[in-house]
Symmetry: C2
Subunit: 136 residues, 2 copies
DNA sequence: CGTCGATACGCAACACGGTTGCGAAATAGG
DNA sequence: CCTATTTCGCAACCGTGTTGCGTATCGACG
């Protein structure tokens, strides 16, 4: 299913912005910041900063993408192919800041919480060095 | 060990700012934002915004505190009594944004990563409703 | 294929958490 | 006390993300 089909499937208008942004996310090998998406679009498509933010937000609302908070206080966006929520772990490189999805890991929800606390979702973030930053 | 002793033990100058901030963190029942720390100091001590940021950073450097990134892109600070790193999970309330340390949980570091990836630390963040926000 | 209402876009201004540079004040050692 | 060094306060700045509003575009329908 390509970007346009996914957008139509979500009952959204197909616009160049949405098509190009979602395609970019689908092609990406890792989670991308707003700026990284913009760079991958340019110079073919000069998209306004705000439009890009709103497009990314829309994709998240429609569950076509999910976003992860990094240590540097910037969101990273990642396509959710199956429309599935982000029930996988993320690897967070402490040197270059890149965030990779680790699909293989699905943390179990069985854990001991204080009374009256109600868990909705578990986010497992592994910090370390990515392949590009690992000296070994 | 009180705040001043911990500061001296880290070979740092004992100043009112450091004493009061660290005491505040030690007394806190959960991770506090910069603003929450400021509120708990005032009006007895009127600390400059920047001084508070630098004091918190210093405490983190000295491993007297650790900080957690929340969904709202603001750091939350938490005293590290034993000088130990934050090898415990955090509960992140999706309604009020408060972050609580869950000391009981120590995620195992044995997991499958892509080749050449090197894990340094695991951060387990549980999202849900805290006791104050839980309707049940 | 043209019309038109709902939706999306672009621009400008703003909000907010956090940082930087630098001169003035406070700390701790002698 | 006196002084070297660290820390503080102020002002200005930065980057990410948001809001308001008028204009352009999409696509449904005739
Ligand atoms: Mn992901
Ligand atoms: Mn903690
Ligand atoms: Zn890296
Ligand atoms: Zn809550």
């Amino acid at each position: 299913m390509n970007a346009d089909q996914l957008i139509r499937h979500a009952h959204g208008r197909v616009t160049p912005a949405r098509t190009r942004v979602l395609t970019t996310l689908l092609d990406a090998e890792r989670a991308l910041t707003h700026l990284e998406v913009a760079e991958r679009l340019a110079p073919a498509v000069a998209l306004d900063r705000v439009t890009l933010y709103r497009t990314l937000d829309w994709l998240v609302e429609q569950a076509l993408a999910h976003r992860v908070a990094g240590e540097d206080r910037t969101w990273r966006f990642n396509a959710s192919p199956g429309g599935a929520p982000a029930h996988h772990a993320h690897f967070n490189c402490t040197r270059c800041g890149q965030i990779f999805c680790i699909e293989a890991l699905t943390p179990a929800l069985a854990l001991q919480l204080p009374p009256d606390f109600h868990a909705q979702q578990i986010e497992l973030s592994i910090k370390g060095l990515c392949a590009g930053c690992n000296p070994a």
